[in-house]
């Protein structure tokens, strides 16, 4: 089943087009990688999926993005849409709340008040984000005081607390040490059974390790979409794809 459909997508800020001609379908329970150098339009793509264009009057989105078959540009309840989509940013954002409150925030925003229910959600999400063992004795200390790697796992736990159908990670490992990165990657592999994941990454090897299929963005174009391994070893449509994954530019 197609989870996220993208058709003729174009994104511009003012007069400047920063992404155009994007077409692909992301299947349910797939890890879909997006690789490409800076300014390729990767982050803007994620923003368009999540309707963050509403917070930026300059941002213009054309074409169709469908989530569960529904055009996101036509969704009236954008809050409901965003709740089904978890987002993790490049730099961890530990909100200045307790660890518990960080993870309980999304359920609370959605109206969950029952403390016992929240306890269950908090423990489950922190466990899945591989953070529970490190913080279970100090759930009341500040989330923003954790180390960078812990904060990033906290951010992932927070995204999971929304119980999302789609999880979008934007270069999540930029501020995380290699060991933690590996732990998070293991978590992502397990999550594949439950949800769909879009993994934007600067590390082509990370895409190779995790992504079932990968799209290569370059200079505001989606140059290539294919089975990840094909980008590295198989046929490619565009030679620049092979050059990029082999590290010859970028």
């Amino acid at each position: 089943m197609v989870k996220l459909g993208v058709k003729d997508l174009a994104i511009s800020y003012g007069n400047e087009t920063i992404l155009e001609g994007v077409n692909f379908d992301i299947q349910e329970h797939e890890i879909f990688g997006i690789i490409g150098p800076a300014n390729a339009g990767k982050t803007s793509f994620l923003k368009a999926v999540n309707r963050m264009d509403l917070f930026n009057t300059d941002m213009q989105v054309d074409g169709d993005i469908t989530f569960n078959g529904v055009n996101v540009q036509k969704v009236r309840n954008v809050y409901g849409l965003r709740r089904r989509i978890g987002v993790v940013f490049p730099l961890p954002v530990g909100l200045p709340l307790s660890i518990y409150d960080n993870v309980a925030l999304a359920p609370r925003l959605a109206g969950q008040k029952d403390r016992a229910e929240l306890d269950v959600i908090v423990e489950r999400c922190l466990t899945r984000a591989a953070l529970w063992d490190e913080v279970k004795d100090r759930l009341n200390s500040l989330g923003s005081m954790l180390s960078g790697g812990q904060q990033q796992r906290l951010t992932i736990a927070r995204a999971l607390s929304q119980d999302p159908e789609l999880l979008m990670l934007d270069e999540f490992s930029i501020a995380v040490d290699p060991v933690t990165t590996m732990r998070i990657e293991d978590v992502l592999k397990e999550l594949r059974d439950e949800l769909t994941i879009i993994l934007v990454t600067n590390l082509v090897q990370q895409a190779r390790r995790l992504a079932d299929r990968t799209a290569f963005f370059l200079g505001g174009r989606c140059v290539e979409v294919g089975v990840t391994e094909d980008l590295f070893t198989g046929e490619v449509k565009d030679t620049r794809t092979r050059d990029y994954v082999d590290g010859r530019f970028g």
Binding site: T57, G80, F89, A106, L109, S144
Partner: protein, 289 residues
């Protein structure tokens, strides 16, 4: 390897001179403050007593205390705060969190900054026209407080807006991405982290309000009243106006009395300011990111 070259020497001399120069300027800055405070304490402190603070003036104001003026100032400040804080904070939240960044918003911001530059006597005359006459409050605590409120609104708005904008954008985005509405984001994440700055602004407003004379002169503060005000529609005495009166308007005034009044007024203001600094230091220690 570490020989001093002539260029090093020049840089080091320059650095010393700049340091001395800047230090001297700072010293000159402190001088008037020290002199004012010193004189006030030296001449005014003997006046301060329980009776001075808690009884009314007697013998044509040349003796007795300042209680009606002290109480009046407290009342004026309180009522002014009740009007300006909700209004100012609400406006600042709108301007910072909701208003689109266009020429209209920018001109509103400009207008607010300009409002802070309007001379207080102009505010006073506006207060007479608007509150005393048009709204029919008469010369009263209400009219005077509202005039003070309008005058100090920019302080509250600017302080609130700046503390809201000091909350990192990434916090808001994280919240929005979770499906929070703007208001949920403001209430749960932005306001709790901005409240210290807002409080500081409010306290600064208090100290400014307490000292103003012109805006209350024509709108609600009286030269002398035999009775304490019974409600917000009564006139009141106020410390700032009282100081003006006892220093210039009353013959045969004992020399020390105005210094006593001034000392009380300035202590109130300094107390508020130090409270604000203490609060800021305490809360900065608890800063969460």
């Amino acid at each position: 390897m570490f020989e001093t070259t002539s260029i090093n020497k020049k840089n080091i001399t320059q650095q010393k001179l700049v340091r001395i120069g800047l230090g001297t300027m700072t010293g000159i800055l402190i001088l008037p403050v020290a002199l004012i405070l010193g004189t006030l304490i030296y001449k005014g402190a003997p006046m301060i007593s329980f009776e001075f603070l808690f009884t009314g003036p007697t013998k044509g104001m040349t003796a007795g205390g300042i209680f009606p003026a002290l109480l009046g100032t407290v009342l004026l400040v309180l009522v002014a705060l009740l009007a300006s804080v909700p209004l100012g904070v609400a406006a600042a939240i709108y301007l910072s969190e909701y208003a689109p960044d266009n020429w209209f918003t920018r001109s509103i911001n400009l207008a607010i900054i300009n409002l802070a530059g309007v001379p207080s006597i102009v505010h006073a005359l506006f207060g007479v026209g608007a509150f005393v006459i048009f709204f029919g409050f008469g010369t009263s605590i209400l009219a005077a407080s509202l005039t003070l409120a309008i005058m100090t609104l920019p302080v509250v708005i600017v302080a609130t807006r700046e503390s809201l904008q000091a909350v990192p954008m990434s916090f808001r985005e994280a919240c929005w991405n979770m499906g929070a509405t703007r208001w949920q984001t403001i209430r749960r994440v932005v306001l709790p982290n901005a409240v210290t700055g807002i409080l500081t602004g409010v306290i600064l407003e208090v100290s400014r309000t307490a000292g103003e004379t012109a805006p209350i002169m024509f709108t609600g503060a009286a030269f002398f009243l035999p009775l304490l005000p019974q409600g917000v529609l009564d006139q009141t005495m106020a410390l700032s106006l009282h100081l003006f009166v006892v220093s210039t308007q009353v013959p045969n005034m004992p020399e020390q009395l105005p210094f006593g009044v001034a000392l009380v007024l300035i202590s109130m203001v300094l107390l508020m300011n130090s409270l604000s600094i203490a609060l800021r230091m305490y809360l900065r220690g608890k800063k969460k990111w």
